[in-house]
Structures are given as structure tokens and as C-alpha cells.
């Protein structure tokens, strides 16, 4: 009695499995789309009062320009001006405001950024301003 093992069905199944694997590898569940560059900003005063988180997304389309002004009560304000390459941040109503101006590239924001600023308003109130990228919430 001889026993012969036919390897052709096994080889065929292996090829089918490889083809399916390659096909699945080519598919992705991710829709793609743009890589967003964002900056989150909020402030907290000495008494623990925390302002709302403001998330600013840099424009994706060429030529886009986004300007946003944030008012922190009657104490001070922040202006964010962004195109698809850079985001500029400046404060009004605080002492030595020019020291707290920031100019951040979209690339830096995409890779991650965090900073805390301590500002003193003209009325003497002290605020901690928290900057971070990306935003924790959806754009």
C-alpha cells in the first residue's frame, strides 16, 4: 500500500490566501484626507476660573486666511492669525505683550506642541495661558 500526498490543493490554498491578504492590505479603513494643524488655547486665573478651550485649525486650502480674536472677559484678549503655513499669536491688554507673541509653523503644530504662559493684565490680574497642539477635541 502506497500513500501519495498531493500538494497541489495546499499550494493553491496558499496562493489564494496570499492574494486575499494582499488585497486586504491594499484596503484601508482610514478615509485619508488632510493632516490638520491646530492650536488649543485656554486661560486660568488665580482663583481657579478656567475659560473655554478655543481650538483654532489652520486653513488647508491654498490662499486661506483665518483670523480669530478671543476675549477673556474685560481683562485681556488674544488674536490668532493663521494661513496654511503658520499661525501667529499676540495678546492685548497685558504687560510686556510683545514678549508673549508667538509664531508657530504648521509642521510644528502637527508634530505636537505645548507651552504655558503667565500673563499679568494692566489691572494686576494674573492669568496662566495654556497652549497645546493638537486640540483634544475634533476640529
Amino acid at each position: 500500500m502506497t500513500f501519495t500526498h498531493d500538494s497541489r490543493p495546499g499550494r493553491k490554498n496558499l496562493l489564494i490566501g496570499a492574494a486575499i491578504s494582499l488585497g486586504l492590505a491594499a484596503c484601508t479603513l482610514e478615509p485619508g484626507g488632510p493632516e490638520y494643524a491646530q492650536l488649543s488655547l485656554y486661560a486660568e486665573n488665580e482663583r481657579g476660573f478656567v475659560t473655554e478651550h478655543a481650538c483654532t485649525t489652520l486653513p488647508v486650502l491654498p490662499g486661506g486666511l483665518s483670523v480669530r480674536k478671543l476675549d477673556f472677559g474685560s481683562s485681556f484678549s488674544a488674536t490668532l492669525e493663521a494661513d496654511r503655513e503658520t499661525l501667529g499669536l499676540r495678546f492685548e491688554g497685558v504687560r510686556e505683550a510683545e514678549d508673549f507673541q508667538r509664531r508657530l509653523s504648521a509642521e510644528r503644530l502637527r508634530t505636537g506642541y505645548a507651552e504655558e504662559l503667565t500673563l499679568e493684565t494692566w489691572s494686576g490680574d494674573v492669568y496662566s495661558v495654556f497652549l497645546s497642539a493638537p486640540c483634544t477635541e475634533a476640529p
Binding site: E30, P31, G32, G33, P59, G63, G64, S66
Partner: protein, 322 residues
């Protein structure tokens, strides 16, 4: 979504190469089709006044025009067998001359109909379509070309106005173009819908709008083939939109400005309506940009570094009252 999907395949249209080849081919094909489609209609012969022969005198035999009256009462002498007088050869019947070709019959005194209408007067309208190509810069910033923002488009345009003095047309134009976003590398990546789930997760589109006043001059307004040239100026705007439906983000950037010169030329095959190809170059620049971003912000600012660009349009037009 700026990706053309056929079955399981996806390929990207190279806006510059494919669009240029398609436009040139469409222009040549349209010109040849239009030239071949027009039958050679012979010009109507000039109307001739029907000639009325003078009334014959009373009693005379009736004759057809141009036929001489037979000699009156001339009978040849009887032939003599021995007569040496030369015998008269029998008169061969004269063949009546062929009548002249029939002239167009006038009905109630009206001139015969032309194969094409006379020069137009009064209201005139034209409908145009074809392909629209971006050329030049959007702004003076490095690499900010018009083609990087907007791909070629399919435009629809209308011209409305008045014809006067046979050769001149004065009126307004309005055009809208539809297409996709341009060839900017980051923009192409941003607009790529990669997951092939046949849902429009990422949608990118572009629209242009142009409006203004124009004047056209027709070189042969009374002929079957009428070449013309035109000049106009007005307002233009181009808008690009990105919709990221998977993340709930939308952004629209609209650049607007002036069209300094819209130069156009073409020719019409004139029948009941006019039809023919045309070429148009609109020279302008953007002066203002308005951005609506996903942060519910709308920002409108003047453009500090404008630059000239051209929208080149190839197509065909249909003229009412050519």
C-alpha cells in the same frame, strides 16, 4: 473627491496634461464637424424681373417669346418638272431656342428666400460652453499658481445684448465654471479619499464665476460665415471647497477680483441660429480672499500681493438671431 473611479481602479487626472490635450482635441474636432456639417447651399440666383413680351398686334398669330413671326403669306412657287430654277430646299423646321433657366418665382412681389438670414438687428443672445484652463499666478507668493489651486473646468456662459449698425454687439456676459481643486501636492493629498468604501469621505470642488460687459465686432454680419472679435471687462471670483465628512470639517476659500480684459474671437455659421467655435482669454487678478473655516470663522481680507492670471476658454457657441 477628486478621484475618478472606474470599477475597482482609481486613477488621477493630471489636470494640466490631460486637460490641455482634451481641450485641443475638442476644439479641432468641433471645428471639423461644424465645417463638414454645413451643406454647400448655392447662393440663390438674383431675382429677375419676369419679362412680359409685348402684346402681339390683333390678328397676328400667337408666338412664344423670342420666336420670330413667320413671313406673312409667302408661298413658294409650284415646282416645275422642267424648271431649271433651283429648287428650294425644304425649310428645316426651326428648333425653338431653349427657354432661359427659370428665375425664382416671385410671390406677391416678395424677394426670393436667402439660404441664411441677413445681418441681425436688435436683441441677440449666445450660449457658450467648452473647457476652461487656469494660467498664471493667483498671488505673487512663491508657487501660488492658479493651476495649483484650481483644475480645468467645464464652463457655461451666456451673452445677452443688442446688435446695432450690423457689425456691433453690446451687452453683458455671465459665466460659471465647475471643476475640481488644483495640482498643489498637499492639496491633492488632502483631497484623497483612500478607504475605497465608495463614500464621499473627502470632497473637494472648485467653482468660478465671471460677469461683466462686452462689445463684439462682426466682420461679415451678412454672410454665411461670420468671423468676430470681442472685448469685455468685469468681475471674477473663484472658490475652492473641502469637505471632510469623516471628521465634520468644512472649509471654503473664495478669491475675488477684477477681469481687466476678456478677449475673444471665433466665427459663426449663420442659419436660423448661429453656431461655431470660439477662443477666449480673460486677464484678471484677485483682490480679496474670504475664508470660511471649520471653526465657524469667516475672515475677509484684501490680498496684499496680487498677480495677473488668465482663464483660457475653448468651446463652441450657439447664437440666437445671429
Amino acid at each position: 473627491m477628486n478621484m475618478l473611479t472606474i470599477g475597482a481602479l482609481q486613477f488621477e487626472l493630471s489636470s494640466e496634461r490631460f486637460g490641455t490635450a482634451l481641450a485641443v482635441g475638442a476644439f479641432l474636432l468641433t471645428t471639423s464637424v461644424v465645417a463638414r456639417a454645413q451643406p454647400d447651399v448655392p447662393a440663390a440666383p438674383a431675382a429677375e424681373e419676369p419679362t412680359t413680351p409685348p402684346a402681339p398686334p390683333p390678328g397676328a398669330a400667337e408666338t412664344t417669346p423670342n420666336h420670330p413671326l413667320p413671313p406673312a403669306s409667302v408661298e413658294p412657287p409650284p415646282a416645275s418638272p422642267t424648271s431649271t430654277a433651283p429648287s428650294r430646299e425644304p425649310v428645316a423646321p426651326q428648333r425653338a431656342p431653349e427657354p432661359p433657366p427659370a428665375a425664382p418665382v416671385a410671390v406677391h412681389g416678395e424677394p426670393p428666400k436667402r439660404a441664411f438670414p441677413p445681418a441681425a438687428q436688435g436683441f441677440q443672445a449666445a450660449f457658450r460652453s467648452g473647457l476652461l484652463f487656469p494660467i498664471g499666478d493667483a498671488t505673487s507668493r512663491p508657487n501660488d499658481t492658479l493651476a495649483s489651486r484650481y483644475a480645468w473646468q467645464v464652463p457655461i456662459a451666456v451673452d445677452l445684448g443688442m446688435r446695432f449698425a450690423e457689425n456691433f454687439f453690446v451687452g453683458g456676459y455671465l459665466g460659471i465654471g465647475f471643476g475640481s481643486t488644483g495640482s498643489d501636492a498637499r492639496l491633492e493629498r488632502a483631497c484623497a479619499d483612500d478607504n475605497e468604501d465608495f463614500d464621499d469621505d473627502i470632497v473637494c470642488a472648485a467653482v468660478t464665476l465671471r460677469a461683466g460687459i462686452e462689445v463684439q465686432y462682426s466682420f461679415r454680419p451678412d454672410e454665411r460665415l461670420n468671423p468676430w472679435v470681442g472685448y469685455g471687462f468685469g468681475f471674477e471670483a473663484a472658490s475652492a471647497k473641502l469637505s471632510d465628512n469623516s471628521r465634520g470639517y468644512e472649509e471654503t476659500v473664495t478669491s475675488s477680483g477684477l477681469t481687466y480684459a476678456q478677449l475673444s474671437t471665433g466665427f459663426d455659421m449663420r442659419h436660423a441660429v448661429g453656431f461655431g467655435p470660439f477662443l477666449e482669454a480673460s486677464v484678471g487678478s484677485f483682490r480679496r480672499v474670504t475664508t470660511d473655516s471649520g471653526d465657524a470663522l469667516t475672515t475677509s481680507r484684501p490680498i496684499d500681493d496680487p498677480s495677473l492670471h488668465v482663464w483660457l476658454m475653448l468651446g463652441v457657441r450657439l447664437v440666437v438671431n445671429p
